[in-house]
Symmetry: C2
Subunit: 347 residues, 2 copies
């Protein structure tokens, strides 16, 4: 089966009518529409995407850009795959397909995105790992490509975003640790320019202030968001004099490395050092003591992302009239035992 022309000839109908029949347009007899659909099914005809895109200027494809640095690719998790399920459940309703665009580790994400945008291979984009100031946002805005970013940015302007509630996470974590008697609380934040690192630290700082605890910069550890980074964090924690009694991790896989380093040094996690991590991961279930952490549904987040995105696309926005353009995605605290040993007042 070559194209619509062969299909039309086979049916002895004009090519225009066949197209209208297939696309559910009016001005076509219900009877002939049946014939056309049957023949298409029988001959296995599916419209060539290039031809269609060229004519309509639309691809019916949504892109999910994926970044994974050389350092974290080994530890990188099922985050994006977890998202796809929710995304697709919404996109499928509009006959939109999702493709993932993995940015090569040795290419600049901005340049990569620029290429993809210029080639007009997707109608809209979802980007993540949003930086504090992110050129990609300006790029997409100027190119008038609808998009939503997972993570707000200083560059966001009035574009759409959904951000994980890292402010809330930091606050609950500090509250909980303080309630358990901790006063010296360390925090492991990412070493790159990702914006959620800043939000996380801000929340941490303001929470301390709320509890009348002085902010101590030496308790802020900047490491990679990986198991390796967790190990490194543990290492640095042990060096601090007047060692903190608790630590908050921005990424749960770090807990594995942290536990490892602590255990090596004879420091018992949860007993000698309280630990709270983000986010709940099935594969960290094994940790002893069980990690206190925050839960979120990747599927639901995917659904929300898709709806927010569609709301920004003129052709689909009427389906989602009252969709928020911006939103803070809530996390739920899952109490474990890694922070529940009460401390004797040290002084």
């Amino acid at each position: 089966m070559k194209g619509i022309r062969q299909l039309a000839e086979h049916l002895d109908i004009s090519i225009g009518t066949v197209s209208r029949a297939l696309n559910g347009k009016p001005d076509v007899n219900e009877e002939t529409r049946k014939r056309v659909l049957a023949a298409a099914e029988e001959l296995g005809y599916v419209a060539n995407q290039s031809g269609r895109s060229l004519r309509q200027g639309t691809t019916n494809v949504i892109g999910l850009m994926i970044e994974s640095s050389k350092e974290t690719i080994e530890d990188s998790d099922n985050f994006f795959l977890g998202l796809t399920s929710g995304l697709q459940s919404v996109l499928a309703r509009h006959k939109l397909d999702l493709i993932m665009l993995p940015c090569p580790t040795d290419e600049d994400p901005y340049e990569y995105l620029k290429r993809m945008v210029a080639r007009r291979v997707v109608d809209a984009m979802i980007i993540s790992a949003t930086q504090r100031v992110d050129k990609r946002i300006d790029l997409l805005s100027k190119a008038k490509i609808p998009f939503v970013s997972l993570g707000r940015s200083l560059s966001s302007g009035n574009s759409s975003w959904i951000d994980l509630d890292f402010d809330g996470v930091a606050n609950s974590a500090v509250d909980r640790l303080v309630a358990h008697g901790h006063r010296r609380i360390a925090i492991a934040a990412p070493s790159n320019e990702i914006n959620l690192g800043y939000i996380f630290l801000d929340g941490y700082r303001r929470a301390l202030e709320r509890h009348g605890i002085a902010y101590d910069p030496s308790l802020v550890i900047r490491v990679k968001t990986s198991e390796q980074g967790g190990y490194q964090a543990g290492h640095e924690l042990l060096q601090i004099d007047n060692r903190p009694t608790a630590v908050i991790l921005i990424y749960e896989l770090m807990a594995i490395g942290l536990y490892r380093r602590l255990t090596e040094a004879g420091v018992i996690p949860g007993h000698d050092l309280a630990v709270i991590g983000f986010r709940e991961e099935p594969r960290a279930k094994f940790l002893q003591p069980a990690l206190t952490c925050f839960r979120m549904s990747l599927h639901d987040l995917g659904v929300e992302l898709a709806e927010t995105l569609l709301a920004t696309m003129p052709a689909y926005s009427h389906f989602y009239p009252d969709s928020e353009r911006n939103m803070i995605w809530p996390l739920k605290l899952i109490p474990g035992e890694s922070d529940s040993f009460h401390l004797m007042a040290a002084e």
Copy 2:
């Protein structure tokens, strides 16, 4: 910047010459080529992919199909993301882009692939999770879409594939366990129709035979390849009367669940029950005792996949003249402690 026409007008050159200049064709003055390239860079012109695809019948995009069932998506790992790095390093040399095509969990993989193929959105495909008999292979062959499958199949015919050496893995594992004195060796295989499960079991069976150990079907446990499945496997292991003294797992994440179930029952992994897993995963590093398992480089596998694929594509095959169409990908044994406690002869 709209299209090549505007670029041509801006340069006051014909549209054909511009196209030739951009694509490095002959019959264009070196001087004007410079001008064209400069102007394209300045105005940010990039060829529209749809137009190009339509004309040349080629998209310059390679698809990596991703399957993840509802059950395993939570546990699914960085396998595909790990592959992309190697894939892209090769594809980039030929200006080919990689996209990942995640099959929705509620859609039949065959139908999904059929849609993607018919829409002509990629030039070639990489498929994985190959089934014992896999209709996708016939589909791609008939559609004359170059492809390589990760995992051979009974349907493979003379198509290209790379298969992980599960036969070798099963054999080494059995050899090692027998050398440690084990005679009753269980095996946890996947419950679906994925072909590597069969190969794994075959290898296991032949290895037993080689050692003069009778094959006992009750020692074959079929579970999902997830942490949950590992737990289930542990559960079933404990039910077997005349309990086996060792178990081989087809997937390393299963070890986490297995350890959990064993510990619950007071059975010490590595001591009361020897364990060998596939494949090495950074996140299973924490397990105590350390898991004996098999290592492979995802990056290198990606490289090999890309080269094998390109070798099947007429336009690129001359770059890879002596590339094997089929290949067994070797794994390296990483000794841990989970199988190294020597047993007293039980009888």
